[in-house]
Amino acid sequence: MRLLGRIARTDWFGPLVITLVAVTVIGGLSPAFLSSFNIRVLLQAIAVNALIALSQMIIIAIGQMNLSVGAIGGLAAIGFAGMMEVWGLPAPLAAAAALGIGLAAGLVNGAIIAWTGISAFVITLATLSIFKGINLGITEAQPFYGVPAGVKAFGNAVLIGPLPMVAVPAALAAVAIWVTLARLHIGRAILATGGNPHAAELSGISVPGTVVAAHALSGLLAAGAGVLLVARLQIGQPSIGDDWLILSFAAPVIGGAILAGGHVSVAGTLLGVAIVAIITQALVLFDIDPFLVQVVLGCLILGAVGLNRLREVRLGRGALLPS
């Protein structure tokens, strides 16, 4: 009973139930949903979106926000495709360089925020525009078509059964982030800074250093999503990243992240990504208007933040009771 109660109170329990119910209901109504091909497509979408969501989650963990996630991902994506097409770099080298671009962009964000103390919202709004402008300045809004066959093959390949190759780097990243937040010093520092920056500073954590590290990590993850998306789309689109903003907040929030910082859940965020992907696909499967996806996403965010708020209030009251 006690174990059950503890499980029911975790961040990932609610989203897990929703995911399972959604899969059962949709699979029952439309058998095509559980076909091997459809599961593969679903997992491909989840893989990329997971990196986008984790990129935002890290920043939510320190109690800030990063509006430039999509712009960094887009810049890394066109960097990746462009370096292969124009300079003829081998794919692994180009991918590493693209991740480097993301890391550098994240470092810029973090350094400016930590150094000036100006709100992350304004700084990342400005860098969003700067990164997007560099992207458009380089590409002049034309895509890079010369993505090598090897990269294209990777984007379509499957590991076993319906499990796509692109899910591998995403899964590795998710595990790495989980280990970082749960076990490593820097991860604990990130959560402590988000929970209470003053207390973190007093207990010997360098808050500016932590902020810079979190933003660098966020940039790296966003760049990873951009690179994977190039492999999946088989083309270096300058518009990659334009529509990431809503999703990047929706998934962590559905996964129980508290926007004030200090409390995030990797498993919850991944389930949040899955829920969004399943609902988006269901709208297509049942011929419901795809235009409604935006409305559903918005409602999901509102519902999730409302629920989190309620849970927060309950937990807060619960803590006051004698145990």
């Binding site: 926000m65 400016i112 000036t116 100006i118 709100s119 919202f121 304004v122 700084i123 709004l125 400005a126 860098t127 969003l128 525009s129 700067i130 990164f131 997007k132 402008g133 560099i134 458009l136 300045g137 002049e140 809004a141 334009d242 529509d243 903003l245 809503i246 907040f249 929030v253 926007l259 208007d289 235009f291 409604l292 996806v293 935006q294 409305v295 559903v296 996403l297 918005g298 409602c299 965010i301 509102l302 933040v305 409302g306 708020r309």
Partner: protein, 342 residues
Amino acid sequence: MVAEDPPLAAPASGVARSDGRVRFYLTNEFGLALLIVLFASVFYALTPGFLSAFNLFALGRIAAVNILIGFSMMAVIVTGGLNLAIGAIGACAAMACGWMIEGLGLPWPLAVFAGLALGAALGLVNGWAVVVTGLHSFIITLATMSIFFGAMIFLTRAESFRVLPQVFSDFGRMKLAVVVSPLFLVALGAGAALMLLYRLTVTGREMLAAGARPEAAELSGIRVGRMVMLCHALSGLLAAVAAMLVIARNGAAIPSMAGQLGQDWLLPAFLGPVLGGTLLTGGKVSVTGTLLGALLVTMLINGLLLQQVGEFWIQTVLGLLLLLAVFLDRARRGYLAHRGLA
């Protein structure tokens, strides 16, 4: 206290005169006016066409929309919040207006009025959600931006309303005294109204007080929740006014007029108030500053385009400008605090 200071403090007495003068030179308004004159001269020297009647007219038309977008964001920043849904509300208001004329056959003044009312109503929804949940307006308006825009695209099937009465495009093309667009006068009128609101009316003062110190305001009998809702409604209304001006400029109501989810309005919305010295933490506004800030941004874009700086790089320039503005603002505040003037 913060809300009490008018932005342009005149020198009071002999001792304070030099301090007052320093303070005047360090106001955002003075700096912005200086920059506008400076850049106008530079652009004029490089391309004399910059100050041609045609370009000034075009400049005024674009500036009018940017100014109103800036006002719309400023109205919410007053409360220490923000409104990401400005572009989405604007697009909804424009499309509603277009539909009422084309779909319902309503006369245009009624349709414009309904569009403005819809903008205010959507803003009110934002404000209500913020007050009821106690959550930050960032996440609420992020969600409603998606909802409003998605619903609008769903209802309109992403199709424009192009058969609008001549009156809209006539208004957009009208030239007063050869160079002045009536759109610009609408923006100036809105600015004057806002200035009256914040300086002279009780409601305006209460909005500022609620933004500066919510607890103190609550204790002194201001209904802070109601003020927050009112500020959001005002923001929605101003976004709708901006949308009506865009209809007049385009002669049509187009769903993509503010980009995907209305995100294209976001940067200009913040540039105006931030350049103009509106405090992001709330409690202090500068209507003149926002107006001058939006004017400067519009002029820079126009001037750079005339210089054939690739239009793709403009976005980078705007981002750098926003960074520069917040850095300068911080430095200026630091200097004023150091000299004990702020």
